[in-house]
Symmetry: C3
Subunit: 222 residues, 3 copies
């Protein structure tokens, strides 16, 4: 693992997270029958919102999405791809090359993959960037969770739904697990890169399995 990768870690996972989060937001927009502008707005809010809230709170202003062109590009690529493959007015046209893709991955599966990957990437990037800005381990892990769930919360509020993070107990918890792994590994810098990938994968797998097996964190009823 090249040690030169470590300083770029937050930004790599951040841009990956924008890509997956904006895809999840665009899929929500298509499911809600929004027009094309509405889908793009929802993709941008979901993809960029969590990172903006994190950057504001830790004092990283102007926020990264305004100074690094890769953020807006990732959001635009995600929104464009989802529109092309899934939006009824665009995707309804005969495009045989895409039909196989559509059949293989129903919208609910595509959403679950995009949303879980978002949790994993942003839990890592949010925690790592907050540590870089001098936060202690616990607040840094908390900012990892805020980055991971923030964009989705803003999206849910905009479309007038109660956010998943309030309704499903195993949504914030996987993000917190990944964030704590990154925060705990911070003092052993050389190992940071593989652990970051591990933490992202762990969060994503935890979330997918929790949904698929309908896991709950509930205590037994008294």
């Amino acid at each position: 693992m090249p040690p030169a990768l470590a300083p770029h870690l937050p930004i790599i996972f951040d841009v990956l997270g924008v890509l997956t989060a904006a895809s999840a937001g665009a899929l929500t927009g298509v499911r809600k029958n929004l027009d094309i502008v509405g889908v793009c707005v929802l993709a941008a809010v979901t993809g960029l919102g969590g990172g903006v809230v994190r950057d504001l709170m830790i004092g990283a202003v102007p926020v990264a999405m305004l100074t690094d062109w890769r953020y807006l590009t990732a959001a635009a690529v995600a929104a464009g791809s989802v529109l092309l493959v899934r939006h009824p007015r665009l995707a309804g046209r005969p495009m045989p090359a895409l039909d196989a893709l559509r059949r293989r991955m129903p919208p609910a599966t595509a959403y679950l993959v995009a949303d879980s990957a978002t949790l994993g990437c942003f839990a890592v990037s949010g925690t790592a960037k907050s540590l870089d800005y001098g936060l202690a381990a616990v607040p840094a892990a908390l900012m990892g969770v805020v980055t991971a769930v923030g964009g989705g919360v803003l999206r849910d509020v905009l479309v007038n739904e109660v956010p998943t993070v309030l309704r499903r107990e195993l949504y914030a918890v996987p993000a917190l697990v990944g964030a704590l792994v990154v925060a705990a590994s911070d003092r052993y810098d050389p190992a940071a890169t593989p652990i970051a990938f591990l933490a992202a994968a762990l969060t994503m797998a935890f979330r997918i399995v929790a949904v698929r097996r309908d896991w709950h964190a509930r205590l037994p009823a008294a």
Copy 2:
């Protein structure tokens, strides 16, 4: 056109935008039967919210509304005027001087004018201020759109409605057009002032015509 006007451009359009946006917010509060405090809160959120989000994201803190008295004054004047002319408990009293005004401009027309002028003023001021803070043209234009639609989004979320920007495709687009005109003209500084007025007027006219003619940006159905 006096060249001395150019440095004041963002603030002139910003305060004008606060005046029109707070009026639109107060009109919404009256329509929703809020009490007087509620109308004032909604006017303040709608009038000042977009600029606050912009200032936070570009790093212009403390935000302008806290350091320049003209912002709060503009919001208060707008809320007071709407309450006086439109609120049932105040406007119901016999005030013949205002009756002509009320008859000439039904609430829906007053709202459309205030809302469209808001889009135009804030698209210009948001883009211009972001350019002043060193942003590139595309993110600056994006911040113009955020300033223009931000206050209305916050208002709609507070009164539990899905924001117009998600439901009507020709809401964000006029703001984006005006913002792009300002961003594109930025490198020709001497011409900036007339182009700013032009961009604001263009956005406002585009929005009004889109509503009146029921324009849509839809692709033909497949």
Copy 3:
């Protein structure tokens, strides 16, 4: 009154406000039948949200809750206590020591006390911190109100309710009264500490009496 207390005033009232606001948020979560993670999220948002918005707007970043461990601790203590005493899955277990407490204070009373104390503490701390950051009296008092009502607004938006500040006229007004008292007393520094306690108590009492006596700020109908 020891003059050495004055510099700590904002932080004392801020942490007290986090404690009461997070309790009010957790009580709302229990009332809404949220699971344990949901109750904790709602407690954190309600307890910390108003202060975060204030810190961002006045430029106090990283926000206080990320750099001072007492904020997160206060929110965690409040959420844990409410869960233990009120949550059906935890509080349902036989814990005789708590039964007397539960009987003495029905949930609605507990909520009113926590919410009114929040208004009082945050009106004081928000105004005092804003004055410390160089704001003039009127914007500082406004930030006191924003701190006082902000967390509750975020909570209400998350659970899809129209915020109290829009529906009940005597919610923002008590906070504004307390904030103005602090802002007005600022130039007489030696007296600041007793006046701060007085302002917090005044706000809290005003709010409780307004609810209990069903006071309204309405004008008589025309």
